[in-house]
């Protein structure tokens, strides 16, 4: 008689398997433990990380603590104080509820729990190694709990191998901390990394205070509040003005009933809320807090509860879109900071009121304006900007100039041209031998600067201009890491930058082609695009290109004021670049309406 092939797994093996789902890296341990502390009603939570969380993650809270029996039970699988029966799953108000976390964590680490419940005269310490209880004893301990997780995955080599460098794990852990700190502005929190205090966040904060503590005092200036309610769903929080955007989605935080959440529908709603206000590939920062009946959202989709499902996804989507648009409208009418893309936001609704100019051209030739009697115009055939851009690129020589990419074979787009004027407060109209050209001066300027800068980079002739007063730049920990890792690249770009301890850097020279007096935004743009370049394969060349792109953007923003002569010079310079038809990001710089096209539209052909 053969032994039965299928056997019930031991508790320990089962826990280890479960651990794979709940705990995949130090950051998820941090998350589970802090959530437990928050659920225990703590008003102060201290987190400590050593060596990216591989050596130690400890979370200390002043919550209600546990008596001895509960402490022992808490590390059993599916043991929880947070729900009692099946119906409770439908209306979860706590962060956790599955009762898996401690069991899972303690099975893959050297685990220590110290706790003392209110009213008890002594606390309890439980020591567990790889899921086996080694010691239980009475200790003196203040009310609350402290969980120490040492040597995570020491008994799971497979998992350990997949841990990344300390730096990477640390940055994930920090992101997790940030998320929790945003979710719980009322709780005082502290993060200590390798003995150094990284964040000290006072309790009882409003969201505004918490944002200031996390992101610095000026960050709030770029945010507008949103608050909108529909039936029993309420969306509150802050969103960034379109002028302030990032190349990644790292600063998009959505909390459903205080729980950090992602759902495809939310990402879509945010994009839609900023529709057309942001360039492709730029993302806003949002901090949205959705409060709704717990019965309307299913958080039990995934063990880490990251993804949620809604009972009425359409309502949520519409509400988020509406609240973002509300916020932006209110923000822009309240005199938003001047900026390139921000002003475009004001222009977008095609108001009959005078357009807010995005670019000033002084001393344009005088143009005559006419007043027509009001005749209802026939609707012109819909011809979107993309269509036109598409048409112009196909009719333009760019198609045969671009793929060959021979500077010798490249033709200037025109042999003569005349600047006629400006429309929409931005675009410049030119007359050339082929027809009428609409030029986006910002995009054109970007192309010109980009070419010039690239030439300097390839020639190795970078010039940097010293600053009278070295500027100290204090960065967010994550950004600081990126800058620190790329110091030599930045230096080769002309930044006179060196470390100044902590997350601070001192900049005593800037690349000479930037007229900006402020190093910080430039550095941030640089590291963002460096990171992107890194993902694309990290070839040194790709690096430089990415940086040049960011660099030019910084340069362009500084030049919102052009004279006619400068525009004419720009046109000449643009004609000499290798790819005059698009800006370094691929947006068109020029749209040509040829005389033939015009003739056809006016019915002359």
């Amino acid at each position: 008689m053969a032994a039965s092939v299928i056997q019930l797994l031991s508790q320990q093996v089962a826990n280890k398997i479960a651990a794979g789902e709940v705990v995949d890296r130090p950051a998820s341990v941090l998350k589970e433990l802090v959530e437990n502390a928050a659920d225990a009603g703590a008003t102060q939570i201290d987190v400590e990380i050593v060596a990216g969380g591989r050596k130690l993650i400890s979370v200390t809270d002043n919550g209600k603590g546990m008596p001895r029996d509960d402490a022992l039970l808490s590390i059993e699988r599916h043991a929880t104080s947070k729900i009692r029966d099946v119906d409770d799953i439908e209306k979860i108000n706590t962060m956790g509820f599955r009762g898996e976390a401690l069991a899972a964590i303690s099975s893959v680490s050297r685990f220590g729990l110290k706790t003392c419940a209110a009213g008890e005269d002594h606390g309890t310490e439980v020591v567990i190694t790889a899921g086996t209880i080694r010691d239980v004893r009475d200790i003196g301990f203040p009310q609350g709990s402290r969980v120490e997780v040492r040597d995570l995955f020491f008994n799971v080599p497979a998992r350990r191998k997949f841990l990344r460098t300390h730096q990477t794990e640390l940055s994930h852990a920090r992101d997790a901390f940030l998320l929790l700190a945003l979710a719980n502005p009322g709780i005082g929190m502290r993060l200590t990394v390798d003995g150094r205090e990284t964040y000290l966040l006072p309790g009882d904060s409003s969201l505004e205070d918490r944002l200031r503590d996390l992101f610095g005092p000026t960050y709030r200036n770029n945010l507008v509040p949103v608050d909108r309610e529909l039936e029993s769903i309420r969306v509150q929080g802050y969103i960034s003005l379109p002028t302030v955007n990032r190349s990644d989605r790292k600063e998009q935080f959505v909390f459903i009933n205080r729980r950090p959440a992602t759902a495809a529908i939310l990402g879509y709603a945010i994009r839609e809320g900023y529709h057309s206000l942001l360039e492709n590939g730029r993302h806003p920062s949002v901090f949205l807090y959705v409060t709704m009946d717990p019965g309307l959202v299913d958080v039990n989709v995934h063990p880490t509860k990251k993804e949620v499902r809604f009972r009425k996804p359409g309502d949520i989507r519409d509400l988020v879109i509406a609240s973002i648009q509300d916020g932006l409208k209110a923000g822009s009418s309240a005199g938003s900071p001047r900026g390139f893309s921000g002003d475009r936001a004001n222009v977008a609704p095609a108001a009959p009121a005078p357009v807010d100019r995005q670019l000033t051209i002084e001393h344009l030739p005088v143009t005559r304006s006419f007043r027509y009697p009001k005749i209802p115009l026939a609707q012109t055939p819909p011809l979107s900007a993309e269509d036109r851009a598409g048409k112009s690129t196909t009719t333009d020589p760019v198609t045969h100039a671009a793929p060959t990419d021979e500077s010798s074979g490249h033709e200037a787009p025109w042999s003569w041209c005349r600047v006629l004027g400006q429309i929409g407060g931005l675009y410049v109209i030119l007359e050339t031998e082929d027809g009428m050209v609409i030029m986006d001066p910002h995009a054109a300027h970007e192309r010109v600067l980009y070419d010039r800068f690239m030439r300097q980079v390839t020639d190795g002739a970078i010039v940097s201009q010293g600053l009278l007063v070295p500027q100290t730049v204090e960065l967010q920990p994550a950004d600081a890491d990126k800058v620190r890792g790329n110091l030599d690249v930045l230096q080769s770009m002309g930044f006179g930058i060196s470390e100044f301890g902590g997350e601070a850097f001192v900049v005593d020279a800037l690349p000479a082609c930037f007229s900006s007096a402020n190093a910080e935004p430039m550095l941030l743009d640089m590291v963002e695009s460096m990171e992107r370049g890194g993902k694309d394969g990290a070839r040194a060349d790709a690096y430089k290109k990415a940086m040049a792109t960011a660099a030019c953007k910084a340069a362009v923003k500084a030049n919102d004021h052009l004279t006619l002569e400068e525009i004419e010079q720009l046109v000449v310079d643009l004609a000499q670049t290798e790819l005059p038809y698009t800006c370094p990001h691929g947006r068109p710089t020029l749209i040509l309406s040829s005389y033939r096209e015009l003739g056809r539209k006016f019915g002359r052909e």
């Binding site: 001047r338 010039v463 009278l468 007063v469 002309g494 020279a509 007229s515 900006s516 007096a517």
Partner: protein, 364 residues
């Protein structure tokens, strides 16, 4: 409202006030000049809400009153009218009739009650200074003002009334211009303010070389009064960087250079640079400065200038514009160039209390 005025006087006054009017104002009233006819004078006022200018001019007023008229249109008309007296009459619908000899115009105005009132100027401190001296101080500093809006405190000229003198400073973070002038005021009136670029530009246009100028400084506004003109400007809010730490306390070498010669040489050499961010190299060697610019694909330029110098050889790269800016705005025949090495700031001085610090460029 009805008055009679000499063309020349009217034109001059209109030219003083028209500068602040924005060409692309979205509020129609801001394109207009407020005309107030008082007993024996006319008050003309314009504003862009940040800077306001008022000019008074003598006129024989037959009927007092006030209105606002489009300033560019009015200026155009007055400029083209023949010499002589101009009669202006405005009815209660703000329609102005302008008559001079055989010419007759009617232009539409807007009621004066829509015009933004000048800010009230009470409290604060007053300072008196020679108008020509003040104008000269602006000339010696204004070019160094930053145009980068991300650091708004640098978008203006810093005026510091301290220790019985006025110190005027402008910087864009790469170079700094500083000039001092003795002014009398009580110790209690010591204070700092930042006058925005727009006001500085206006003042440079309308200031004259003689007469007394009065500055009246309030918390967020400053008024400058001279001749028949009153200019009121918002001040830039914020604290100006500590410029004293920028001025090097010592230098290794001090060179006397002929100003005009250096300026001319730089202008010629700079012809071989391609854009605003290019550098020129200055080599201070035995009894001469060699100035060079090398631009790949374009060419190179070299120029030598005799000086009296026996110190160590120093080669330092500067943005040529940054060296030429102060030279253009000085009148001294000789200047002093102070240097230490290729990474330390250079300083330009002269016989008057003027100082210019500029950072070198680093060429890889």
């Amino acid at each position: 409202m009805k008055f009679k005025i000499e063309k020349a006087a009217f034109l001059e006054a209109l030219q003083v006030v028209q500068g602040v009017v924005s060409i692309r104002s979205t509020l129609p009233i801001l394109s207009n000049v407020l005309v107030q006819a008082q007993k024996s004078q006319l008050l003309l006022t314009t504003t862009d809400l940040d800077v306001s200018v008022r000019c008074s001019v003598k006129a024989s007023v037959q009927k007092i009153g006030a209105t606002t008229l489009p300033v560019r249109r009015l200026l155009g008309i007055v400029r083209e009218l023949p010499e002589g007296e101009i009669d202006v009459e405005v009815d209660d619908k703000n329609l102005a009739s302008i008559t001079s000899g055989a010419s007759y115009f009617k232009i539409n105005g807007i009621g004066d009650d829509e015009f933004p009132p000048l800010p009230k100027l009470t409290g604060g401190f007053s300072y008196s200074i020679d108008q020509g001296a003040f104008k000269e101080m602006l000339r010696k500093t204004a070019y160094a003002v930053s145009t980068d809006e991300t650091r708004h405190v640098l978008n203006g000229v810093h005026l510091s009334f301290k220790e019985d003198k006025l110190t005027m400073v402008a910087t864009d973070g790469r170079r700094l211009a500083l000039v001092e002038h003795e002014v009398e005021f009580p110790e209690t009136a010591e204070r700092d303010l930042i006058l925005p670029t727009k006001a500085v530009n206006e003042l440079q246009h309308v200031l004259q070389d003689e007469g007394v100028l009065k500055i009246h400084a309030l918390d967020s506004q400053a008024a400058v009064e001279f001749n028949d003109v009153l200019l009121v400007s918002k001040l830039i809010d914020g604290s100006y960087p500590n410029f004293k730490q920028v001025v090097p306390s010592s230098c290794d070498e001090r060179v006397t250079v002929e100003r005009e010669g250096l300026l001319m040489a730089l202008r010629r050499v700079a012809l071989l640079t391609t854009d605003k961010s290019s550098s020129v190299k200055l080599t201070f060697g035995k009894n001469q400065i060699e100035i060079t610019a090398i631009t790949p694909d374009v060419g190179e330029a070299r120029e030598t200038l005799p000086i009296k110098y026996s110190g160590k050889e120093i080669t330092v790269a500067f943005n040529p514009e940054y060296v030429m800016d102060p030279l253009r705005n000085m009148d001294n025949d000789e200047i002093y160039f102070e240097l230490t090495d290729e990474l330390s700031p250079g300083v330009i001085k002269c016989d008057i209390p003027f100082l210019y610090v500029l950072m070198p460029m680093r060429v890889s």
